[in-house]
């Protein structure tokens, strides 16, 4: 089996031509910053996620629009969620409105899996389905998730959802199914091809620019620079989970 992952796939010729043609087109359409960002972190497909990186997100809640739902919509589309908000429906990212009890000031912020360094969901999972990848992304391995929901009990952020009914027509890149627990994956399928999560991209495209995604371990990354230049907090920092998602402006 050792040769399984040492071979690079060659797309069949016609698709390859398309690729080259459209690559040129893409370069012209693309915002240069996004392109450069992508290239800087690329890794070949046969190489796994590296523990040298730690993916993280910084959310500037002062830029987050009250009532704006762009990140949520983008997440739903990317990951094939139906967008319903009943008590049994999955929500990977949600907008939380917080109102200061002493002065009444209200603002919004997005809440999702905080991709903790010490995730309680991973600690409590009996089978090891709840796991943290080398690059810090916390995932559910649905192949061995038995649907006990103990991780949902353990998560301080209420970030996880249980799939209550059968699902069809999934996004091929985002398998989802009845009886397993799921949550934000930082759009791992996108991150692995050097894109930012769908929510971040949509937030930026919408002009809010409230979310920055990047490598917390790299002092040169945009997120590290932003974090070192301004105060930020972890939600439930008292639990010392060292979250991968940080907030400014709370």
């Amino acid at each position: 089996m050792s040769d399984l992952h040492n071979q690079t796939e060659i797309p069949d010729s016609s698709e390859r031509r398309d690729f080259l043609k459209l690559g040129a087109l893409a370069a012209t359409v693309l915002a240069p910053g996004v392109m450069l960002y992508g290239i800087a972190n690329s890794r070949p497909p046969e190489q796994g996620a590296s523990s040298k990186l730690r993916w993280g997100m910084l959310i500037d809640t002062t830029k987050c629009g009250n009532g704006c739902n762009t990140c949520v919509t983008a997440c739903n589309t990317e990951n094939g969620l139906n967008g319903k908000t009943g008590p049994q429906d999955s929500q990977w990212i949600r907008k939380v409105n917080i109102k200061n009890l002493s002065n009444g000031f209200e603002h919004d912020l997005p809440m999702m899996c905080q991709h903790c360094e010490n995730p309680p969901c991973v600690d409590v999972c009996p089978t090891g389905a709840s796991m943290k990848r080398a690059d810090g992304i916390v995932l559910v391995d649905r192949h061995i998730c038995i649907g006990c929901r103990y991780c949902m009990m353990a998560c301080p952020y209420k970030a996880r959802s249980f799939v209550h009914e059968p699902i069809t027509d999934q996004n091929p890149e985002v398998p989802r199914g009845k009886g397993c627990v799921e949550s934000c994956t930082f759009c791992v399928q996108r991150v692995d091809r050097d894109e930012t999560p769908a929510c971040v991209e949509a937030c930026n495209a919408n002009g809010q620019n409230a979310m920055i995604f990047g490598d917390l371990n790299n002092p040169e990354s945009e997120i590290s620079k932003a974090l070192s230049g301004q105060a930020s907090v972890e939600v439930r920092a008292d639990l010392r989970l060292n979250t991968g998602v940080r907030y400014q402006g709370i």
Binding site: C125, G128, C145, I146, A154
Partner: protein, 405 residues
């Protein structure tokens, strides 16, 4: 002397036996129907949501598991602490423990999102997870208590019963500690995170287990037209009173501790004052019916003439009901209280942040839960019917009393 006991099938109330089996069978069947229905539709047909992730099935399952470990106490008092009165009841106690654990685990497993992957739970262990440890403890419990029963019931193995009794005793302590810790280790939730959870579960298991034992014992004696010797009744009822009192004590200490931790005031106010169904179940179910009333019934002063009235069926039955109320308050009430992400802020969202979560169990969940009791019930009926689980000592006593009459 055995002719008084239902050992010979000719002598048994064979029709009544099958009637009870049919009764249990109906409930087990209902549970299977519920299981296959939910397996097909998914949990959408239950009252459980992404907020209340553990529901009524877990109330039944955890009660059965906790009471299963507690019911073994009767055997432990006999084997470990050498009390002959209890030793005569050790086989019944061990058998009940196995039957109830089987019932509880069945509910837990049938409620999984992917029950077809049960094998994965047995092959993939995350040893950091207290849940995984529980699975080891449950499986070990079956093996150890099974062997212990063997040493109790096979004369040739009698010598091993004491060490096996010890092992079973320590194992059950570990098991209940682990079960309590399932909740106690949930650092994020105001209602659960407490070191008191494990010892409180142990004390409660003593109470629930003994209560179940007393109910079953009363029923068995009644079945065989016998009465439990007053001496035995007195000792067991006193022990039950001690356990019920200790459970109440732990409950009070748990809530007092919570009230001294500032961030859990809101949770305490929720459970004790404003939680609606949970507040009612706590005060009326757990405290009043499951604690104070049984204590009064057990200790009510009686004249010599009315000594026969013991409430040895009624009081433990109330303790069991109170136990279910306690599990409902602990498991569902603990989840209904919203997580506080931003202290000092009021939270609202599409995902029900900042509001008490609603839960109304569906009939399917009730069917699953009742199925767990029915499995334990049927296993008990079959075991009692087929083997000598009737406590043996009082027959001598009864015999003696009869001849002296």
């Amino acid at each position: 002397m055995t002719e008084h006991v239902c050992l010979d099938k000719q002598d048994c109330k064979i029709k009544a036996f099958w009637a009870l089996m049919a009764l249990g069978g109906v409930f087990v069947l209902a549970a299977m129907v519920a299981f296959f229905h939910l397996e097909h539709t998914g949990h959408i047909e239950t009252g459980m949501t992404n907020q209340i992730v553990w529901g009524l099935p877990h109330v039944f399952a955890v009660f059965l598991i906790v009471a299963a470990s507690g019911v073994l106490n009767v055997a432990s008092i006999g084997s470990v602490f050498g009390k002959s009165l209890y030793k005569a009841r050790a086989p019944l106690s061990g058998m009940l423990a196995l039957a109830m654990l089987a019932g509880g685990l069945a509910v837990l497993v049938l409620d999984l999102g992917r029950p077809d992957r049960l094998i994965i739970a047995m092959t993939h262990y995350n040893f950091k997870s207290i849940f995984a440890w529980n699975m080891i403890f449950y499986n070990g419990f079956f093996a150890i208590v099974g062997l212990y029963l063997l040493t109790l019931m096979d004369k040739k193995l009698k010598n091993y019963s004491k060490p096996m009794g010890f092992l079973a005793f320590f194992w059950r302590l570990a098991l209940t500690t682990a079960t309590g810790s399932i909740f106690g280790f949930l650092i994020a939730r105001a209602g659960y995170h407490s070191a008191l959870m494990a010892p409180m579960f142990i004390i409660m298991s003593f109470g629930y287990g003994l209560a179940v034992f007393m109910v079953v014992q009363s029923a068995m004696y009644r079945w065989n037209d016998l009465t439990v010797d007053p001496n035995i009744r007195r000792r067991m009822k006193n022990l039950l009173a001690v356990f019920v009192g200790a459970s109440l004590y732990f409950t009070i200490v748990l809530h007092l501790t919570n009230m001294y931790v500032a961030k859990q005031w809101d949770f305490e106010r929720f459970i004790l004052l404003e939680g609606g169904i949970y507040t009612k179940l706590f005060w009326i179910g757990q405290i009043l019916l499951g604690g104070i009333v049984p204590l009064i019934l057990l200790f009510i002063p009686r004249s010599q003439a009315s000594q026969k009235v013991c409430f040895c069926f009624m009081a433990p039955l109330l303790v069991i009901l109170g136990g279910f109320a306690q599990m409902y308050v602990t498991i569902i009430g603990g989840q209904a209280f919203p997580l506080e992400l931003f202290p000092g802020f009021a939270e609202t969202s599409s995902f029900y942040d900042g509001v008490a979560h609603a839960y109304s169990p569906s009939i399917w969940e009730a069917m699953l839960g009742m199925g767990g009791i029915a499995i334990a019930f049927m296993a008990t009926i079959i075991a009692v019917h087929a083997l000598k689980f009737m406590p043996q000592d009082d027959l001598h006593i009864l015999q003696g009393r009869r001849s002296s009459d």
